[in-house]
Amino acid sequence: MSAARPQARRGGIGERRLLALTALAIAVAIGFVAYQNLGPSAVYYLTPTEAQQRRIAPGAAVRLGGQIEPGSLRYDPASRDLRFIIGDGITRTVVVGKGAPPALLREGAGAVVEGFFSTDGSFRATQVIAKHDEVYVPPAPSKTPPHRTP
């Protein structure tokens, strides 16, 4: 195997390192400023309030994220109609969908819904995803975990 060494360059190498580092520093600076200005375009989902502020048109595909209002979750296995209210503490949106909800979908917990607004202001969900936060705790003693693994 040949033991080729990188060519030793006279003179310019310190300059070039400086140039490279400067370019990288500029890149980081531009990136930082740019990132601050991305605004609402860089989100995975909108909260109901953001959706309202942006006046999302009915029929436009969008993702909403928020908390499911306690007492609002209803699922009818016969008709497969799913209904709940998603909110962010300020705005509430009625979500309507078809099909069984994910097992972890719980009132008071988070959810992300994909779909579109219909003309009556409710949200038609094509996909419902349960979102859980990063805190893991064991169940309180004497209470069996409410979720049963399928």
Binding site: P102, L105, V128, P138, P146
Partner: protein
Amino acid sequence: MTTTAFRPAPPVRIRSALGLASLLGVLVAGAMALVWAPPDANQGEVQRIMYVHVPAAWTAYLAFGVVFLASLGWLWTRRPVFDAVAVASAEIGVLLTGLTLVAGSIWAKPTWGVWWTWEPRLITTAVMFVMYVGYLLLRSLSTDLAGRATRAAVIGIVAVVNVPIVHLSVEWMNAQHQLPSVLRPGGPALDERMLATLIVGTVAFTILYAWLMVERVALETARQDRLSDLAHGGPAR
């Protein structure tokens, strides 16, 4: 032109010790994960997949970091052992990333409700997987050993720029994937027993990684020697 003096394999003691330690580690971590750690109040037993998913992810990062360092080492010194370390680590890293993705998917179905979603962290992990599979493909399609090592080293360096993006992605955007539970500004958000199990699991995975590395590097250096001998028409004296 380097002569290939006979290179003894790493002492059997070290290899057996590491192998034994790996086995023990996996058994202990497994027991803790399946029995000792409590179930989660929300998710129940399925949350235990975390003890595979998270250590696998962390160890994959470690593996690709090693690929980066070994790639630099090869480009700097042209010593074949660096190339051996790079390929060994890349292979293990690809396996671990695959395991992370599969375990994550299995965890996602009962908890989130979907096998997959187009969310930043998942995307970047999948991209990372493809990049290193590309690394291995590039190696397999090269014929000359020195050229192969150099090409792979370049890709190993370029690819590592992606790895920090994976970890940052969760913080940059509102994300489906929950924020990190351990590396988190208020401190770990885990019950103590869960945290302990997670740490033991990570240690177990790391020992396993180290053992696999030793074995794989030994295999690769033996291969290098054999091929080099063939090229020079017989073992060097």
